[in-house]
Assembly symmetry: C2
């Protein structure tokens, strides 16, 4: 899906983007692609030059018209300060920020006596593993939720301007109360990050032979443990109260689990002697089942919208290309593709997601073309 | 990679497989494919029939020659009992089990006075998300580690028989002490499972609007929270001591983290006032970085052996197939392929892994063929 270049754009320039990392530069790129005049700023001359070079916008000029909208894409720990400065420097502009925590920024602004009628918080739920302006994409936000938080004092015009921004970038605007937003990201983003880091910390002292037994489960759980410590220290500190609350609840579950394991570890313990302990283990795991089933979307547990046809792909040149060509020749749209690594080699099995009504037809067609299907 | 059908097989039949789920049926399939006579047993008539139907082996017959090797692929909580029974029923056979915990099984066998000279523990580090005999694959173990644990009393012939089994299935035999093995899987497999379940448990009571903000990080961390509670209750109970030890250490890190967050949450707290707290946060995240970097392999953090070329794939039929055909036409081997979902649609960017020395050539060739590369 890409930006709908033919649809009308509501955002009027010039739009000022402050902070030209991945998010800021992508906002700039998205707007510039749609013909909106974007002026860029970043304290790093390199980041600024790179953003301009990838087409995210231009440098400010002395005779620029007053900016109508300022998008602050700064690290969370300096966001409030930058918003404050921008509100003052551009007295007719709406200012929004993209920080992943909303309440903390708002509290700081309120304490500083800022003009909250022109401030609207944003949090676009978009990103990539890569960072920096060179990784910016004009369609980074397409189809993604863009949370808009109203302090209660934002003017109607300001709220509409930010909603237009989100819509012009192809995102899906979603209104949330700032505190509800912060509680939400605590549980769906910040605590998972903490958990990944805690599990990964245990690997530091593990013997080399232990790490040789690493499997897909460990890799999945610890993938985000590679996150940038400086950025995440600011995020966690800015959402400390909400994150601590979730971690306290998690620690209570962990305490029960450790007690149950201690009982199960007793000499002579068996299913007959520690039924209570086994119950705690089972309820933890079943609780996890129930929780993960609530995550929307195909990898989340709620019934996938797609059917998966798994095909064995011989490890020879051109085989995967041939398979995809045959999928196309069968007239079936490939919705997603995942290569399964169970045999230790990257090309082994291809899991092809298709609309459920097309799965049987695809299986028939591929089998007829000599492909071997796995279940 | 598939089983090397032309290489000689050391394992002599008949080999008896007890328990025809994914692992047992895959052992049967792998051996049968190599021409070894495999007899199957499972307490479930359906699982047994299915395993036979997929080609994993045959049912026992009254005039069978004495089995030389028994492979017990039963749930961990009954494995010791089954091994004991099989040792008694087949007095000249070597018996191995595939349970993911070795010490507990060994302790039970020792306590029951079993003949440990004919027993060798195995743990093939292989699997799939799917389970059951219908999901069995002959090359499930190819290239995967196969841990062999010596009680100290296993005979040389028994150890060689199990090593031959692993090698005949294409696996990589690895010797480990049983306790060292259990400590290892506690940290690289069992604790990650627990962490995933604990994080997922917090989702049960989360508001629907919070779950709508779910991203890739949450999905990665909680993916294994969909695991089977009954199986994992037995695994955790069987490895309770080792798992509890790791969780106790993790809880200590969690306690420090919660204290630091509580400090950071104080009104008026900022980078100047809570330097100690921020240090704890940063050290947790950096510790996670260090840990995950120790995981071997391309998703683990240690420098990947492959270079990645990322290509924008227009969302139109046949485009991905065309891309892969062009990769082949450029004479470059595709080592791995991942579709990136940052734009909310499954087909958007294709991350192609190639040998580092081929990356630049591939970029040149693809660009010449009209493809747009992302950084």
């Amino acid at each position: 899906m890409s930006l709908d270049d033919s649809a009308p754009v509501a955002t009027r320039g010039p739009v000022r983007v402050v902070g030209t990392g991945l998010l800021g530069a992508s906002v700039g790129l998205g707007l510039s692609t749609r013909g909106v005049d974007v002026v860029l700023w970043d304290p790093s001359r390199t980041a600024l030059a790179l953003a301009r070079d990838v087409g995210a916008g231009r440098l400010p000029a002395p005779d620029d018209a007053p900016v109508t909208l300022v998008v602050v894409a700064a690290p969370p720990d300096v966001t409030a300060d930058v918003v404050l400065a921008e509100l003052a420097a551009h007295p007719t502009a709406v200012v929004t920020d993209l920080a992943s925590i909303k309440g903390h920024v708002l509290d700081s602004l309120r304490a500083a006596g800022a003009d909250l009628t022109r401030y609207v918080g944003s949090h676009p739920m978009a990103g990539r593993e890569k960072t920096g302006p060179a990784a910016a994409l004009p369609d980074l936000f397409v189809g993604r939720p863009w949370v808009i938080t109203d302090s209660g004092e934002s003017s109607r015009d300001a709220l509409l301007a930010v909603r237009d921004l989100a819509a012009d970038l192809g995102a899906v605007p979603r209104s949330m109360d700032p505190r509800a937003h912060d509680d939400a990201v605590a549980v769906v983003s910040h605590v998972p990050q903490v958990a990944a880091s805690l599990v990964a910390m245990r690997l530091r002292d593990a013997p080399h032979a232990a790490l040789d037994l690493s499997g897909q489960g460990l890799r999945d759980v610890t993938r985000v443990a590679a996150s940038d410590p400086t950025l995440w220290t600011s995020i966690l500190a800015a959402n400390a109260e909400a994150v601590a609350a979730v971690l306290v609840a998690m620690r209570a579950d962990l305490d029960l689990l450790i007690d149950a394991l201690d009982q199960a570890a007793q000499p002579g313990a068996g299913p007959e002697t520690v039924p209570g302990a086994l119950g705690v283990l089972a309820r933890t795991l079943a609780g996890g089942n129930a929780g993960v089933a609530r995550i929307p979307g195909k990898h989340g547990g709620t019934p996938s919208v797609y059917a998966v046809v798994t095909v064995l792909v011989p490890d020879a040149p051109g085989e995967l290309a041939r398979l995809l060509t045959d999928v196309g020749a069968a007239g079936v749209n490939l919705e997603d593709l995942q290569l399964e690594h169970s045999s230790g080699r990257p090309v082994g099995m291809a899991a092809i997601s298709v609309l459920p009504g097309r799965a049987e037809h695809l299986q028939t067609e591929l089998t007829a073309r000599g492909w071997r299907l796995a279940s």
